[in-house]
């Protein structure tokens, strides 16, 4: 079977599910952000694959480019939050940051 749209969509779905799994299981805040990157990459693969096999234009490419831009902004702010958390709590473990629960 020659490689077509479903193959690329499957890779995207795998990346997305792996990212979701990482976000649900990981306790290190930096690893959570890595999970977000996996999710965004999975979505991007889908955008580009559909742009090639269904749409034919470059709109999907543009959407993927904007996702990359927003991922950069998200990484900057997210990692700043992680570092501020590390300074205030002395750990990057998201379960340890529970001041509002107590």
């Amino acid at each position: 079977m020659t490689v077509g749209l479903p193959h690329f969509l499957t890779v995207g779905a795998l990346l997305f599910s792996l990212g979701i799994f990482a976000m649900m299981t990981r306790r290190n805040a930096v690893a959570l952000l890595m999970g977000v990157e996996l999710i965004l990459n999975g979505a991007n693969v889908n955008f580009v694959a559909v742009a090639r096999y269904v749409d034919g234009g470059v709109d999907g490419h543009l959407m993927a480019a904007f996702v990359i831009v927003l991922a950069a902004a998200e990484a900057a702010v997210g990692l700043a939050i992680v570092l501020a958390m590390f300074r205030n709590f002395g750990t990057a473990d998201v379960n340890a940051v529970d001041s509002l629960k107590r």
Partner: protein
Amino acid sequence: MSGDLVFYGFAALTVLSGFVVVFARNIVHAGFALLFTLLGVAGLYALLGADFLAVTQTVVYIGGILVLVLFAVMMTRIPRKEQRRRGLDHMVPAGIFSLGLFALLYKVSAGSFPVREPGEAVPTVKAIGVEIMTDWIFPFEFASLVLLVAMVGAAILIRERRPARAPEALPENAPGETAEAPEEVHA
């Protein structure tokens, strides 16, 4: 046929290193596995004829975001003896949920899309530039605003807070230390 082999190579690189990102106990290993995942995705973009995106992925993701992530890994290290506890929580429900999610997505992606035969891949840079400056001008400008706000916000979040009320609370130099260094420079 050789194109198929290239696809399977990049897909395997992407997915296998994705598994390492998720399951590696050492966060540094996860960070480096993320490098290979992003490289594999860039290869998939190139296979899909998205030359601009493949380069952007390499430059922005690997050159920018990944370096940022590795810096954060470096700055939030905890001593090894506290690290020995299991790095993963809620394995079973999370596994069931993500497997179900993957099954759903797989089912959908195997469905009937109105697939057309993709022609020869052409360079997309010019088309992307024209589209950005015409139809996508508002998202483009808005993205620049988002980046500016994110930059300022990150700088504010990470700033050292000075104790505003007490200038005398600043650490005084010990008497022995002040006499040495500055005079040497003038002489």
